[in-house]
Amino acid sequence: METMAEREEEPEVTVINDPACSIGIKTTWGFGNQLFLFAGKETDKLSDPEGATGFKGATHIYEVVRDTDMHDPITRKLVNESHNIFLNLQKFEPESAGASKKPQLVKFSRNYRCVIRSCLQDLMAAVETSIEPQVKQKYEAQLQLFDLTELVWSLCEILFVDTLPGGVIVIKLLDWLRWHFTDGERQAQDAMKEDVPEENENYWQSVWSFVLQGRIDDARKMLSVHRSYDTPAFQSIDELLRKMPIFTSFTGQSLAEFDMKWRHWRDECRRRLEENEYATNKNLNTICRILSGDDDVFIELRDVCASWYHMMVSKLLYQDPTVKIHDLQYHTQSCINAFGGNSQLQPSDNILLAAIEFDIPQVINLSSTYKSNWWFVAHLTDLLQHCGQLESRTLHFGSNLREYLILEYASSLMSHDSLWQIGINYLDHCPEYGRQYLGHYMDSLPLDTERKAQKALRICEQRNLQEQGHSICKVMGMRSLHNGRLGSALSWGLKSKDVTFVTFIAERFLDEYTENGGFSNVDLIDNLGSEMLLSNRLTFLGKYREFHKLYEDGDFIAAASLLLSLLSSRMAPRKFWLTLLTDALPLLERDQVVFNSQQTYELMHCLEELNLAQRYSDKPTRDMPDDPKAAKGQTELEKEKSELMKLALARNLARAIVEEGSEI
């Protein structure tokens, strides 16, 4: 396509001013649209490694980001606000098919434009308040871009969204002009401030401008302050202006009726012109020539019109006010010629021209190449698709234009610290590739804070991206573990229901207890609830901690029976048995009998099993240091403990039997 070739010739150019880069530039990707650039070159790595040495100056790395237009605080507001409109538009379903749809869609379009206008106002304020020339320049460029955006958007709204049944369009086009051509208004204000307004050099320019924009009341107001207002010539023009018929769809007037009235009025204008009623005042004569629709006068007032499309709308107002929407395209060429012909057309002119020619794909195509304004094309295309103005054919890349542009826009948000979350909501509305893109972004999202990781995980959970969710939990869990934060590691493991990891962390908690005789993160373990059941080891950890609580609370009977059940159910890992039996010691030696005879037998059974296992295994049961001497010392300590246990158990058994016997 022609436009693509044009773009190929002129890609945007960014310049890195580092003399070191004259040896070459290398680049690597960061996240999203982030790139790192640095001076560098390749040599024959084998035979000429020296070719890559001796560059002392080449030590800087440049972080560059593509498509950052939307990352500025002002445009960020636009991103946020338009995001809400976009989401509502995706939810929008007309209650009944057909007619009721349009007013709603017009409302969506106006909402978007509202957001653009408020952004324009913010940008204007920023241009005025910024002191640094570079910042000022940046805002000026954005101001220009969004001014054009509004211009194209509002034209598209008139042509494609808010279409009138009769197809009469001039009144709407006049509204469109007024917003974007404000020179006349400003000149009028300046003139009105003077003691004698007509002495202001721009007095007549502003009057003509009002007339050309169809602002008849304003034009009359300007004339009324003229010192000669009472003369016949002024009164005559005022009468013509006052009587000018304006077509609106609200008056209930039929088109034919209006047309008749208008022709009558224009004939009157032409008559007065021919009779030289304004020979005394050439400025008034110019007004009358405009009203009569004289071709030449528009060319003479070229500068007041300022653009071909302004001229076109003004001409139509006085030559063919009932022109139909689809006939607009036949009126463009003469006006373009008045402004120097097609060769003088700017990219923005071509966009408007394409819109007037009802070539929507071309409007979008040209707009997307113009300063890669993804925000604009993505939202406009989406709106037009909802209006049924775009055929949704599948393109070469595998989906339709709407999705292609939304993917681009979403991608441009992904490299921003906070806007990435908005980008994700846009990806949700890309049925073909949204999910794949999302997967890639979630896979490589920088998880620099715990909070961001939580957010990312929630996003994955809501969208059932299991793999990415698991990966986030694993990454965060490993990081917590490396930083010695066992509690945090455990909660990340629980979030992804990662049995192996949770078991591993539970082991670490038990190790910690064996080493220090206490638990960290007691709150977390106490409040595990049903999550405890994820892993046997975790269940044991939770129950064991419960035993400690019961013991601390003085509920020795419950504590004892829990301890026993941990042992007899074989839930406790073998290596932990001795610790558990040792925990039983103080219970056995209480004044009151805590374990009954049956329970004591079971404890004895466990101790015996442990001793047997130890005897038959060459390996020590506990985590043994490699040093055999130390290992031996440890075993002896264990033996001693075991002897103590035996004694305590035997004593307890005797007491229990006696007590049980006396109960009978």
Binding site: A52, T53, T59, E63
Partner: protein, 318 residues
């Protein structure tokens, strides 16, 4: 629009060969002809020097961060024939493993997708490629592909861990039993695709179109199309896009562009929608496929002429 956000002074004493951001987006690793690897904390636009890793005895060519689920692991390769895997524990960086089984400069390192565990491919000037892996018990194993590229291998890049044919399955369960593949480029002007089969690496494809050394290869991330895409660049000044439709073994080639000078690097953005190309013409250009199936340059970053141009901030002079 491309904007320069930050400038990082690495303090390297010689030419930088690679700069890689970690997965968290907080650490930037750089390597240089000065034989060192440096790590910077680059949070919030601030840069703080963290550490310099010394151990290589020649220019360090390339770096690769492992997936963070394996901890903070960084691989580096050098002219000194070694590949070193560095690990951070409690803020301290140490050598975790040293792989010195190449007979010549190691030019490229690349970690496999995390689904395959810790697995690193290394391409060397001795013509071979080695694939190092560990099961996590501290022992490292390697498999070597001898004579992968005569005169030398310049670059390696892994295929995504998604079976291009099984993409419509969105349950995520399709990553099991995915064939491990990577692409390599070498001084024999050839691009080769390797596949793991019965615990061995076999040559699956030989892609011939370049007329001089292949400098870099990059396998594009999959975005759900049932096709694979590889970019390669060469001393012959061309960048070639290779594609496979996912149903046959045929790869078609298309010249992206013939540049004015040697092309050194090609790399894909996260979603594979943009290809960054850099080379001897002192330019980095970004390429994108249009809706009409044409590749177009969307952005250029050039070296400056020594003076500031409009819209450039002065900090770039520092």
């Amino acid at each position: 629009m491309v904007s320069v956000m930050n400038t990082i002074d690495t303090g390297h004493e010689d030419m930088i060969h690679d700069a890689q951001m970690d997965y968290y987006g907080v650490k930037l690793a750089t390597c240089s002809s000065d034989r060192s690897v440096k790590i910077f904390d680059v949070r919030n636009g601030q840069q703080t020097f963290v550490t310099a890793l010394t151990g290589h005895e020649g220019p360090v060519w390339q770096l690769a961060w492992a997936h963070p689920m394996f901890g903070n692991l960084l691989a580096s390769c050098s002219y000194d024939r070694k590949v070193i895997i560095w690990k951070e524990t409690n803020g301290k960086w140490d050598k975790l493993h040293e792989h010195s089984n190449h007979d010549s400069s190691v030019n490229s390192v690349s970690w496999a997708p995390h689904e395959f565990g810790l697995m690193l491919a290394c391409g060397s000037s001795d013509g071979s490629i080695s694939v190092i892996s560990t099961t996590g018990d501290g022992a490292w194993d390697y498999k070597k592909i001898p004579d992968a590229h005569t005169i030398g291998c310049n670059a390696v890049s892994w295929a995504p861990a998604i079976n291009p044919g099984a993409l419509l399955d969105q349950s995520g369960g399709s990553r099991q039993n995915v064939v491990k593949r990577f692409v390599s480029g070498g001084c024999d002007n050839i691009v080769k695709i390797w596949r793991e089969q019965d615990e061995r690496w076999v040559e699956e494809q030989k892609l011939e179109a370049h007329s001089d050394w292949v400098r870099d290869v990059a396998w594009a991330p999959s975005i759900g199309l049932p096709k694979s895409i590889i970019a390669s660049c060469s001393q012959d000044c061309r960048v070639i896009i290779w594609s496979n439709d996912g149903t046959s073994n045929n790869w078609t080639s298309k010249v992206l562009h013939k540049f004015n000078d040697v092309v050194w690097h090609v790399s894909w953005s996260v979603t594979g929608n943009i290809l960054a190309v850099s080379g001897g013409d002192n330019k980095v250009s970004l390429w994108k496929e249009t809706l009409e199936n044409q590749w177009v340059c969307v952005s250029d970053v050039n070296k400056g002429q020594g003076q500031l141009t409009e819209g450039q901030s002065s900090e770039q002079m520092s």
